[in-house]
């Protein structure tokens, strides 16, 4: 018998609802709150208010797309954390209300695990699987062993996340928020003509704050006009440098731990240079390499749903007392 799973994701500024029949995505609706870009970052109170209105709309849209009636749902999965507490609270309590009304079980999902589990939507990567997760709030290397829910974080950023580094540097260059995609865009038209020193961090950990400071000082040598002129080359060089920092550790971890397959996850895995270089790395090392579809890179409820599916199979349920966590 197949399971119908409803999944809710409200960890940051995107409101998303997905409906899965086992591993098959019947709907994955995402509503983005564009209002935040004018403030140069997500405004938590604004995000929470919007979720409360948007969630209802997004749910109705998802049910319509999936042609499913709410009473047929077997379980309700939701993001428990990490994320903005005010945003998470809306999704969690909405899920709890559904659970009470429909008398169906809840499944609490960790957002970062879900980013990784997104690979299980279309494929079944062979284990152990080594994943490089790079998003606005996180940067880590995770080894998935034994089963898809068995995660061991082997390295993480000691300061800024990769996406945060992209965004902060983009701001220095006068680009809008979030700046990651803009750096990527300008980088396509430039050459990596500038060289920057690489941070020397032990083990599988990362650091971006020193790099960011270096770029800040570097850019200060340029006038505003020169920055404008040099934007493509600057973006291309910066993008290459950030990706190289990531790839170096990824390479080291693959060599040491010898996983059977590898992949990337999170919002920054939309980055074109990262996608290209990870694929090249996989080809060189002859290891199956999973690059997520764009719609599964950023926050989406499909990844919450697929994680919910595996948790359902292992009877790993949440309850009405479940509370969110920020980190």
């Amino acid at each position: 018998m197949a399971f119908l799973i409803l999944a809710i994701e409200t960890s940051c500024d995107d409101t998303s609802v997905a409906i899965l029949c086992d591993k098959v995505i019947l709907a994955n609706v995402v509503s983005s709150q564009l209002d935040h870009s004018q403030y140069g970052g997500v405004v938590p109170e604004l995000a929470s208010r919007k979720h409360l209105v948007n969630l209802q709309i997004v749910l109705e849209q998802a049910l319509y797309q999936a042609q499913i009636s709410l009473i047929d749902i077997d379980a309700i999965a939701f993001t428990q954390g990490p994320g903005l507490l005010g945003s998470l609270l809306v999704g969690i309590n909405y899920a709890k209300g559904l659970s009470i009304a429909l008398q169906k079980p809840l499944i609490a999902v960790n957002h970062m695990e879900a980013h990784i589990l997104a690979h299980w939507i279309d494929y079944t990567p062979e284990l152990p699987f080594l994943c490089l997760t790079v998003s606005g709030g996180h940067t880590c290397l995770t080894l998935v062993q034994k089963n898809p829910l068995n995660h061991q974080v082997i390295g993480r950023t000691l300061d800024d996340a990769a996406g945060e580094a992209f965004d902060k540097i983009a701001k220095l260059l006068g680009l809008p928020y979030p700046g990651g995609p803009f750096i990527d865009k300008y980088a396509q038209q430039g050459q990596p003509i500038y060289n920057f020193p690489k941070p020397q961090i032990p083990n599988y950990d990362f650091s971006f704050s020193g790099f960011k400071t270096y770029i800040k000082n570097f850019v200060n040598n340029f006038s505003a006009e020169q920055v404008q002129q040099e934007l493509p080359n600057l973006c291309c060089s910066i993008q290459n440098a950030i990706v190289n920092i990531l790839i170096d550790k990824f390479f080291k971890a693959i060599q040491d731990l010898k996983p059977k397959s590898v992949g990337i996850a999170g919002g920054v895995s939309a980055n074109s240079t990262l996608r290209k270089k990870v694929q090249e790395l996989g080809n060189t090392l002859q290891i199956p390499t999973y690059i997520p579809k764009f719609e599964y890179c950023t926050d989406n409820a499909a990844m919450i749903g697929i994680t919910g599916y595996y948790k359902l199979l292992s009877q790993n349920f949440g309850d009405l007392g479940t509370v969110p966590y920020a980190r």
Binding site: V43, R49, L89, K96
Partner: protein
């Protein structure tokens, strides 16, 4: 017969109740700040259990829509909105200030005093509403920085029941009012006497649109843009 589930998460009190027609069937009320996130859904489940009412038998939902704590309000709204949608039953909203005032209507009637219902809103502010001795809203005062001209006017022209956790603060800023007053800063259960209010709302079908129904935030989002 109407079976109404009522929820108030708008203050440091977390309260749930079930009414059958005008009568309170059961209620649970926690006086504990910052437990709403963990407890609100559990309390709903419990109150349904003690009332021996299967959730599908509910006919209406009602919620204190503020003013109050934004976090608390959103917890309550998220819970009841999804219940309303899943159970296909309408949702009613009532002002937190009007709701908590209902318990004092019998005294107000007896004394012939109107009610000044208020909630502490931090610093020297309260949310306040002026309510007649039958429990009907006369004037919503919104967020009042104390001392406040509207509050001063009320206290200098009426004998009043001042109720709610901002009551002491009001008197600090408006000392020795010329008329008599009775002070009730402590609210035992803000949703224990809503029978009349709910009946009225149901009779007038004051149902909320599920998508647009939002808490009474009173204030817009305050945004400071960092110049870094």
């Amino acid at each position: 017969m109407n079976s109404v589930l009522v929820l108030d998460t708008s203050t440091s009190i977390c309260a749930v109740a079930i009414y059958q027609n005008q009568n309170l069937l059961s209620t649970i009320c926690l006086h504990q700040p910052n437990v709403h996130s963990e407890k609100a859904a559990l309390l709903i489940d419990q109150v349904l259990n003690i009332s021996k009412i299967p959730v599908q038998q509910l006919t209406h939902l009602a919620i204190a829509k503020g003013p109050g704590s934004y976090t608390g309000l959103r917890i309550g709204f998220a819970l009841l909105k999804s219940m309303s949608y899943a159970l296909k039953i309408p949702i009613l909203g009532f002002s937190t200030l009007l709701g908590q005032a209902q318990s004092f209507v019998p005294i107000a009637q007896q004394m012939k005093y109107p009610i000044l219902s208020c909630l502490d809103a931090g610093r020297n502010e309260v949310y306040a509403a002026f309510i007649d001795n039958q429990g009907n809203l006369l004037h919503d005062l919104g967020a009042c920085v104390l001392p406040h001209p509207d509050i001063k006017k009320i206290l200098t022209t009426h004998s009043t029941l001042i109720i709610g956790n901002g009551a002491n603060k009001i008197l600090e800023h408006h000392p020795s009012p010329p008329y008599k007053y009775l002070l009730f800063p402590y609210i035992e259960n803000p949703i224990a006497n809503l029978g009349y209010l709910l009946e009225k709302k149901i009779a007038y079908q004051e149902y909320q649109n599920l998508i647009t129904f939002e808490p009474d935030y009173i204030k817009p989002v305050h945004i400071t843009i960092s110049k870094k």
